[in-house]
């Protein structure tokens, strides 16, 4: 009986949250399969559902969509680069601080935490200035570097915590087995950290994929901007093609969903089971 009550309570919380999350997505979906004149009809299902909007997007058949494929490529390129670079920086930092116990590790960790007191929006203008100084404005690298800067502290923090949970005896066993620090990193540390690495890589990738403000500031050519900024351009006119905007948005939202789905098994632990007696 108690169990039923508890489950009922959970459902009472879960259902509103589910609706709250799905309703806007349903709205986007509804717009994207409606014709231009029926988009604002307010019906729960369009009278004549159509895939025409997607065809327009894929053929770049609208003023706002002339660079659709270039922009989605930019988004992808930037997101992957940010994911890979953040992982490289944060994994090395976490390994050095947590496993090699380098001097000053605590300072780095505290500094990483401290950066959270400064909102990212605060740093946008200084970052713009810095990128300008280095002549990187309008290069995809400016956004990549900016996003790696923003994503790294959190990534380092999380990976350091995850590293600390790896049994220390494994490092000692590897040292006695003759492993150099680099071999320890490559052959023991990285394989065991894989679930955390995938999770953090995904985090950085999606952070960059979703970024708007920095992308808007640092990149301004139609050909260099990512799709997020391209989507923003739809709102530049009084008569926005909402059905096309929503179709593009749906396409834009698909890759993160696919990534989450693909890597979901890495998001759970369990790889270290059997290492040491617990």
């Amino acid at each position: 009986m108690n169990k039923i009550v508890r489950e009922a309570k959970l459902w009472l919380i879960a259902i509103p949250i589910l609706l709250w999350t799905l309703l806007p997505i349903y709205h986007i979906f509804l717009f994207s399969i409606s014709t231009k004149d029926s988009a604002f009809s307010g019906a729960l299902w369009p009278a004549k559902p159509t895939l025409h909007n997607f065809a327009v997007v894929f053929r770049q058949d609208h003023f706002y969509l002339h660079h659709f494929w270039a922009q989605i490529w930019n988004s992808l390129w930037i997101a992957v680069a940010v994911g890979v670079l953040t992982l490289a920086v944060a994994t090395c930092a976490a390994f050095a601080i947590s496993r090699l116990k380098v001097k000053g590790g605590r300072v780095v960790m505290n500094a990483a935490l401290f950066t959270y007191f400064i909102p990212a929006a605060f740093l946008a203008v200084p970052m713009y200035k810095a990128m300008g100084t280095y002549g990187l404005l309008n290069s995809r690298w400016s956004l990549v570097l900016a996003m790696v800067t923003l994503a790294s502290p959190y990534a380092i923090w999380v990976l350091k915590q995850a590293s600390d949970k790896l049994p220390w005896e494994l490092d000692e066993a590897a040292r006695i087995d003759g492993a150099t620090p680099l071999q320890l990193f490559r052959l023991v540390y990285v394989p065991l950290m894989m679930p955390s690495l995938v999770a953090i890589g995904t985090y950085a990738l999606i952070l960059a994929w979703n970024e708007y403000l920095y992308a808007f500031l640092l990149l301004s050519h139609e050909n260099t901007i990512p799709l997020a900024v391209g989507l923003g351009h739809f709102l530049a006119s009084d008569d926005s093609p909402w059905e096309l905007l929503m179709a593009t948005a749906l396409i834009y939202a698909a890759p993160p969903a696919a990534i989450y789905y693909a890597f979901r098994r890495y998001m759970v632990g369990g790889l270290t089971a059997g290492a040491v007696k617990t």
């Binding site: 049994p167 005896e169 494994l170 000692e172 066993a173 590897a174 040292r175 006695i176 087995d177 003759g178 492993a179 071999q183 052959l187 023991v188 394989p191 065991l192 790889l271 270290t272 089971a273 059997g274 290492a275 040491v276 007696k277």
Partner: protein
């Protein structure tokens, strides 16, 4: 095969001194057990030999070579950890061959050595499994296999059996011992379990608070503990120890005059002593220490009787079955010739 020598080895963690000048020579092929209560410094000593802990002072040498500044991997040692420390993402075969792979041995040689170790340890059916698919005892054997394949100069064991259940521990004890008799590799084995120490060691070093209290063969420690600590630590059930006073060539304790043949060589009238007698050397008698039976624990072959003489608890081990029951008044007499006398002040053995 190698000798190991500790010479005046010191270690401190911050202001806390954990090892106060340990000197110990381990012979070629010897099975040396370091035993002591937790915090006595035995694991630290082993870890310093392994190169996992810096040496605070003194010298450690393996086969005559001082290894103070030599990396773990260049000391030619292999270690078995309490927690097994198997690589969870590698199969048993990969775990065992890892050190050889790092050493860049030929794959054929690695296969051969792993197969050989697996045969010795009965791990052949499990070579392709992952550690998580093995039982505790099997994991422990893989950890040993990892050590064997390297054919190191010295085996180091850090409480390898502590995580196993009682039955498995006894079985693994015998396996490790048999393995040593087969390979004859110099072994340093750390444990807090004095039974492990007694059953496995060629020689035991009993440690306490960063010092070696006594070094010797198992039965030597059992028969002639040099001080109270060793007397109490070695032996299960523990030795009975109670206060007494030397009077005219005997000891007065617990309201009785007790034999003390050992006194011939030392001890003065009126000296306060600790009188020690092992449970199996205490007998039911018609006169002696008056006591009351508290508990009788029959174990089949022998019977353990817990008795109280005043406030002092005494344990008595008799062969066969007991005729006494709880509440019975009995007399206990120590067997002459099996008595241990210690000075009450210094705790050192008299004579």
């Amino acid at each position: 095969m190698a000798t190991v020598a500790f010479s005046d080895v010191h270690k401190s963690f911050g202001a806390t001194k954990v090892l106060h000048g340990i000197s110990l020579d381990i012979a070629n092929g010897e099975f040396m057990v370091l035993v002591g209560p937790s915090g006595c410094g035995k694991s630290t000593l082993l870890r310093m030999l392994a190169g996992l802990e810096e040496i605070g002072g003194g010298e450690i040498s393996i086969d005559g070579r001082v290894v103070n500044d030599v990396d773990s991997k260049d000391r030619d040692i292999a270690m078995v950890f309490q927690s097994y420390a198997l690589y969870p993402h590698m199969t048993v075969r990969e775990n065992m061959g890892f050190s050889l792979k790092l050493r860049k041995d030929k794959q054929r040689l690695i296969d051969e050595r792993v197969a050989n170790a697996a045969r010795i340890l009965n791990l052949e059916p499990y070579l392709e499994r992952f550690p998580r698919e093995l039982s505790g005892g099997q994991r422990q054997r893989v950890a040993m296999g990892r050590a064997i394949v390297r054919d190191p100069k010295v085996f180091l064991f850090d409480e390898p059996l502590s995580n196993l259940d009682a039955k498995l521990r006894v079985a693994m004890r015998a396996e490790i011992k048999a393995l040593h008799q087969r390979l004859k590799t110099t072994t340093v084995y750390v444990t807090h379990d004095q039974i492990e120490a007694m059953t496995m060691a060629d020689r035991i070093a009993v440690m306490n608070e960063g010092r070696i209290e006594q070094l010797g063969e198992p039965l030597e420690l059992y028969d002639h503990p040099v001080n109270l600590f060793v007397a109490q630590f070695i032996g299960s059930p523990a030795m009975n120890i109670f206060d007494g006073v030397v009077r005219a060539g005997a000891v007065e304790a617990l309201g009785a005059r007790l034999p003390a043949a050992v006194l011939r060589a030392g001890g003065t009238d009126g000296q306060k002593v600790k009188y020690g007698v092992r449970p199996e050397h205490l007998e039911l008698a018609s006169a002696g220490i008056a006591a009351e039976v508290v508990l009788v624990e029959p174990m089949g072959a022998e019977t353990e009787i817990l008795a109280k003489a005043g406030d002092t608890r005494l344990t008595l081990m008799t062969r066969g079955r007991s005729i006494a029951g709880p509440g019975d008044r009995i007399f206990l007499a120590p067997q002459a010739g099996y008595i241990h006398l210690f000075d009450a002040a210094s705790g050192l053995r008299i004579a």
